[in-house]
């Protein structure tokens, strides 16, 4: 169904990688029905193959699986696996998409992912997920943590012997499946199909596929992963030995016109550094060498990561070398790298050579685009432009992730949220139209009742039943205090057992449930759902992990493992008897937002918020809007930036949903997510506003250089000043111009890369050459970081005669004025190893981008952290780039990190989409397991206020003059640190109360002892045999 003008409140996301998932979650949280279409049997995309992520070395699966589980189980997300788009009709806001679903031969509702079928399947196939280094069966799960955890039969290899059907105890296998065409009505479409890896075979000179020990970077990544072929060990495929020397060759299939990929794939430099570090961790004594042209470490804390890798971890970086070819020593299978250094041809021997392969456009992308009618750019990626980076050529169809241009995980996630925001703006009216809210029976109040515990022990097929004596565990459970019902079943998490559990709850009047099966980390929500369906508060539930932490790890001692399982169940029952029903705190959401900073990001955010139907207060400290954008005149391809700026400012000022406060400062902020109170000082006048969320877009400033005679000689200027000069004076009377890169960036004081200045310099150099090709332009750089498609402009500049001279950090160029008053620049050219002397007419400095001055003060006001360089620190560098740790506050633009125009626009839309996931709800539910203060016990000592990282506790004055602590339910995360730091235990942690934990400790060590006296009061009813 749809709203008045026929808009449909649903979105189709093509591609289930990290970008697709982020967009789907944002849309689903904001009240839209989402169809995720992915050609592979489960979602996860390329990130699922990674072992660790740079620069934090987080384990990729650890940070990805919460998103996987959330997407897999979200009420408003429908996964359409092993499916592709067949055709699309209709207009923006009302599309009809025909989706072709390949047959999987496994019923998604029945398969529990237990894997018994794979044990018996006789057919072994090279596993694509592990790049062929490992084998999988004809019936397989793409990777252990796959979502949905449903197996698939690979029809090309399966000989149809039918043994899997005999093994499947859930009866989920059905061989009659065939391809079907499904019609789906959606309002907008988001394309996030990701990328495909460049086939290194095309670079024949490196011998991939011929020499055994030449690997692609993804193959090495699989080796490094614990679920990989060698369980984390790096072994030479030729002889299974551990390598002593490993070489990385960069730009394989990137920056290479010959193979048709002239662009830079943006991530391979950092990917190689990370792999080198992790490989050394896994292989003591390993030497790693990286052969590269430019080290493109432009992201957040990338440069420090690169510097640490070189100085602390001893990774050998061999600069500006393009490896000519690789040859092999036939006996030892070792490899020789041939490369030129200072004009001489050198040969170095290595055990393993890793090719850092670049990105290609996704497989069969032509089919997709011709069906959807969207245009591709000359590299076969999606055509977008600077001002609308998230829109494709087709209105109503949006793009995000690597398909728009090669990018790393944080940029993809930010863009995914951005695309979600754009997709929502099209169908703002139909929000919540197609979303169903699950109805639960009214909750029974059990507070007065005696604890009556029901224990359900699981066989989990043979996973538990194969080692532990499960029936005896169920019998033992019956003897425990407060237990009135105990049973064992084959698969407790299967749909039918769930049904039986809720019936048993109602029939026996159980008011506590204990399930002894697998890990609570993944299964608690399933069982809590069952409790709610039986009218029980979900927190009256406890799990005993007798699979992952008992049967699977004590296979050789089944008797003693069963004894341990009895202890674990006894502990769970002891705690269950003391569980209380908990109601999470609810907060009313004020349906408006505060945007701090009126630059490009701030204005874009305000416009998108208004378009989504919410009011925005836009606070700008200058007298007019625009921020740093006012000083940028044209884009790399000559786009009219100032024209766009005027249109944007007009759009902001004309929109009655946006209240603009210029030359205004934020005085004070209080409250928490859902209801922030802000006091704005708008040139003298104090205004109080209330809003549900805050978006920080305070932008950045250009660095005032002190080096290279800047400020002492008018002929030395910054790139922005030079751009203004080019535009205002129209032409330039000079014979020679020298541009110096990394001025103020990548120094000990500011050890970060300002990301945009390499491209800014190239842009201005091209404009100069366009005006007068006769002018000699020298560009002195340390690393050319024109990543992504900007590489084109760097090549164009070189072709047009701009001379690029590399200098090392230790011998920086020297700018001086000679006796005739002419400017003089001396620099040691790293390649030619000679000192050059140039007399330019102008020296243009690529000055760094600094965080805005007011960041410290604002950070203290909002209680959000800054990173060591003064930019704002986001909640998670990889997966929550636009959120803060404190809920309800979001971040975008230069305030997060210096970045390009189109990246700012994407991140601004991303911040809005994250904000909409809160604004679209009327009330917000906080955590249920939070801390509570017993005001009679509390001395108001303030220790908890200092302990808490989330600012949840605060000291309040009671009417009788006593000072006590109060904990804000919306902010408390339930970690429990404050309750331990409180000397007289005035703070109780719901669900982990001290007496609950102590009851577990006591029952763990008192085998026969009945629990201490005080619990004898509860008389155990006569246990009725069911």
């Amino acid at each position: 169904m749809s709203d008045e003008e026929g808009k449909i409140g649903a979105v189709m996301v093509v591609g289930g990688g990290i970008a697709g998932m982020q967009a789907a979650l944002d849309l689903a949280d904001s009240g839209y029905l989402v169809y995720v279409v992915d050609s592979s049997p489960s979602i996860g995309g390329a990130m699922a193959q990674l072992d660790k992520t740079f620069p934090t070395h987080d384990c990729a699966m650890c940070i990805l699986s919460p998103k996987l589980v959330a997407t897999g189980r979200h009420q408003n997300v429908k996964l359409m696996m092993a499916s592709d788009i067949h055709a699309i009709e209709g207009k923006p806001g009302n599309f009809t998409v025909f989706v072709k679903r390949k047959a999987r031969y496994v019923d998604e509702t029945k398969c529990t992912g237990c894997g018994l079928c794979t044990l018996r399947c006789p057919i072994e196939v090279r596993d694509e997920y592990n790049k062929g280094l490992k084998l999988r069966k004809a019936i397989y799960l793409k990777y252990p943590q796959a979502v949905p955890p449903v197996h698939t039969i690979d029809r090309d290899h399966c000989i149809g012997c039918g043994v899997c059907e005999t093994q499947c105890e859930a009866g989920a296998i059905d061989f009659s499946g065939e391809e079907e065409l499904v019609k789906v009505d959606v309002g907008s479409v988001i394309l996030a199909p990701g990328f495909s890896e460049f086939d290194p075979r095309l670079k024949t000179e490196y011998g991939y596929g011929v020499f055994k020990n030449v690997l692609s970077s993804v193959e090495l990544e699989r080796m490094l992963s614990a679920t990989g072929p060698y369980r984390g060990m790096v072994l030479r495929p030729s002889d299974g030995k551990r390598p002593k020397r490993m070489a990385f060759i960069q730009c394989v299939g990137s920056r290479d016109v010959q193979v048709g990929n002239p662009y830079c794939s943006s991530v391979c430099c950092m990917f190689a550094v990370k792999e080198a570090l992790i490989a050394r961790e896994h292989t003591p004594g390993l030497e790693t060498h990286i052969f590269f042209m430019d080290m493109r470490a432009f992201g957040k804390e990338f440069d420090e990561y690169y510097a640490r890798a070189e100085e602390e971890h001893g990774i050998v970086f061999t600069r500006n070398t393009r490896v000519a070819r690789v040859s092999q020593n036939p006996e030892t299978n070792n490899l020789y790298l041939w490369y030129a250094e200072h004009g001489k041809m050198k040969r170095e021997e290595f055990d393993i050579v890793v090719l850092s392969i670049g990105f290609d456009s996704p497989k069969d992308v032509e089919k997709l685009t011709e069906k959807l009618g969207i245009k591709l750019n000359k590299h076969d990626f999606c055509q977008t432009d600077m001002f609308t980076p998230l829109d494709t050529s087709e209105p109503g169809i949006y793009v995000c992730g690597a398909f728009s241009s090669p990018k790393d995980i944080p940029d993809s996630v930010a863009q995914a949220s951005g695309a979600a925001c754009r997709a929502m703006s099209e169908i703002a009216g139909a929000r919540g139209a197609m979303v169903t809210v699950k109805e639960y029976p009214p909750e029974i109040d059990v507070s007065g009742q005696e604890p009556k515990v029901g224990v359900f022990v699981c066989h989990c097929g043979i996973n538990i039943g194969g080692v532990l004596d499960v029936p005896s565990l169920a019998e033992y459970a019956k003897t425990l205090p407060n237990v009135v019902h105990a049973e064992d079943n084959l698969y407790t998490c299967s749909q039918d057992t769930q049904q039986r559990i809720s019936e048993t709850i109602m029939e026996k009047g159980l008011n506590r449930v204990v399930v002894a099966s697998c890990t609570p980390r993944t299964h608690t929500t399933i069982f809590q759902n069952t409790l709610m369906e039986a009218g029980l508060n979900p927190h009256l539930f406890e799990m005993a992990n007798i699979r992952d932490q008992c049967s699977w790890v004590h296979m050789n001692v089944p008797k003693r493992a069963t004894k341990k399982a009895r202890t674990l169940i006894r502990m769970a029952v002891a705690k269950a008897s003391l569980l209380e029903q908990l109601k999470p705190a609810e907060v009313e959401v004020v349906k408006s937002a505060l945007v701090i900073g009126g630059g490009l990001s701030g204005m874009t955010a305000a416009v998108e918020l208004a378009r989504a139907g919410f009011d925005a207060h836009l606070v700008e400290k200058d007298s007019e809007l625009g921020g740093l954008l006012r000083r940028i005149h044209f884009g790399c391809s000559g786009e009219d930036v100032q024209g766009f700026l005027e249109r944007l400012v007009k759009q902001v000022e004309d929109d009655d949903r946006i209240r603009v406060y210029t030359s205004a400062e934020l005085k004070e902020v209080s409250g928490s997510v859902g209801d922030f109170a802000a006091v704005i000082d708008s040139d003298g006048e104090e205004i109080e506003t209330h809003q549900g969320v805050i978006i920080v877009a305070t932008g950045g400033e250009e660095y005032e250089p002190t080096e290279y005679l800047y400020g002492k000689d008018p002929r030395v200027m910054t790139q922005l000043e030079f751009e203004e000069k080019l535009v205002t004076e129209g032409e330039i009377d000079a014979k020679c111009i020298v541009m110096v890169h990394c001025v103020g960036s990548r120094t000990t004081e500011r050890p970060y890369c300002s990301r945009v200045c390499c491209t800014e310099s190239v842009k201005n150099a091209l404009r100069v050459k366009e005006m007068n090709p006769g002018i000699a332009v020298y560009s002195l750089f340390r690393d050319m970081r024109t990543y992504g498609f900007r590489e084109e402009f760097y090549r164009e500049a070189a072709e047009k005669g701009v001379v690029f001279i590399r200098f090392l950090e230790e011998n920086e160029p020297v700018v001086s004025i000679d006796d005739q008053g002419k400017l003089e620049v001396r620099v040691l050219d790293d390649i030619l190893q000679e000192e050059l002397l140039i007399n330019p007419d102008y020296v243009v400095l690529a000055a760094a981008t600094l965080p805005a001055r007011g960041n410290e003060e604002l950070a203290r006001m909002l209680k959000v952290p800054l990173n060591s360089h003064g930019f704002f620190l986001e909640a998670h560098m990889k997966l929550r780039p636009v959120d803060f740790a404190t809920d309800g506050i979001f971040l975008c633009g230069l305030a997060h990190l210096p970045k390009f125009f189109e990246e700012n626009v994407s991140q601004a839309c991303g911040a809005v989409s994250r904000a909409l996931s809160i604004l679209s709800q009327d009330t917000l539910e906080g955590e249920a397991t939070i801390a509570l203060v017993d005001e009679s016990m509390c001395r108001g000592c303030g220790v908890c206020v200092d302990t808490c990282e989330f600012g949840a506790p605060s000291l309040i004055m009671l009417e009788n003059g006593r000072q006590v602590s109060h904990i804000d339910g919306a902010l408390c995360k339930g970690c429990g640190s404050c309750s331990v730091s409180c000397c007289n235990k005035a703070i109780t942690m719901l669900n982990f109360r001290t007496d609950q934990v102590l009851s577990m400790v006591e029952s763990c060590f008192s085998e026969a002892k009945t629990p201490p006296a005080k619990r004898e009061a509860t008389v155990v009813e006569e246990v009725t045999e069911t």
């Binding site: 992952d548 790890v553 001692v557 397991t929 429990g976 640190s977 331990v980 934990v997 763990c1004 060590f1005």
Partner: protein, 151 residues
């Protein structure tokens, strides 16, 4: 060593050890050890808490009083804590408790603090193995058998 061959050493001292695991890192590491079927001694029993910062020194002393032969407190690596600094506080509290345990004669080598990340299944199994051996050599908890029982 299979069950059948174990009867001879059945009476031999089998320590019972309590392990506090934090929900986000070390508990996930324990699960990964399970998923990869890494075998470790059956003497360890895990108690899940939301953060290592939730482990009160009294829980540990109470466990020792009730006859625990060893108590292992595990949490996220410093800097990885889901609640930013829960593990830092845990480290301080455990250090202070260790001094007290030495003074009253139980000895601080009965307890140990270990950081185990969610991806370190093998490390979890190793730590369980090492700590169980360490406690086995140390011998049973001297308080065992005395009916402290508390209150």
């Amino acid at each position: 060593m299979t069950e059948a061959m174990a009867p001879a050493i059945e009476e031999e001292f089998q320590p019972s050890i309590l392990v506090f695991c934090c929900n986000w890192c070390s508990y996930a590491g324990a699960d990964l050890a399970g998923v990869s079927r890494l075998q470790y001694p059956v003497n360890v029993k895990v108690l899940r808490v939301m953060c290592s910062g939730r482990v009160d020194p009294y829980f540990i002393l109470r466990a020792l009083e009730l006859g625990a032969d060893g108590v292992l407190i595990t949490g996220c690596e410093i800097g990885d804590c889901h609640y930013i600094s829960g593990n830092v506080k845990a480290k301080e509290r455990i250090e202070r408790l260790s001094k007290l345990l030495d003074q009253i004669g139980i000895g601080s080598d009965r307890i140990r603090l270990e950081w185990i990340a969610a991806s370190e299944g093998t490390k979890f199994a190793q730590v369980m193995e090492e700590f169980t051996d360490h406690i086995t050599n140390l011998g049973p908890n001297p308080l065992k058998g005395s009916e402290t029982g508390g209150g």
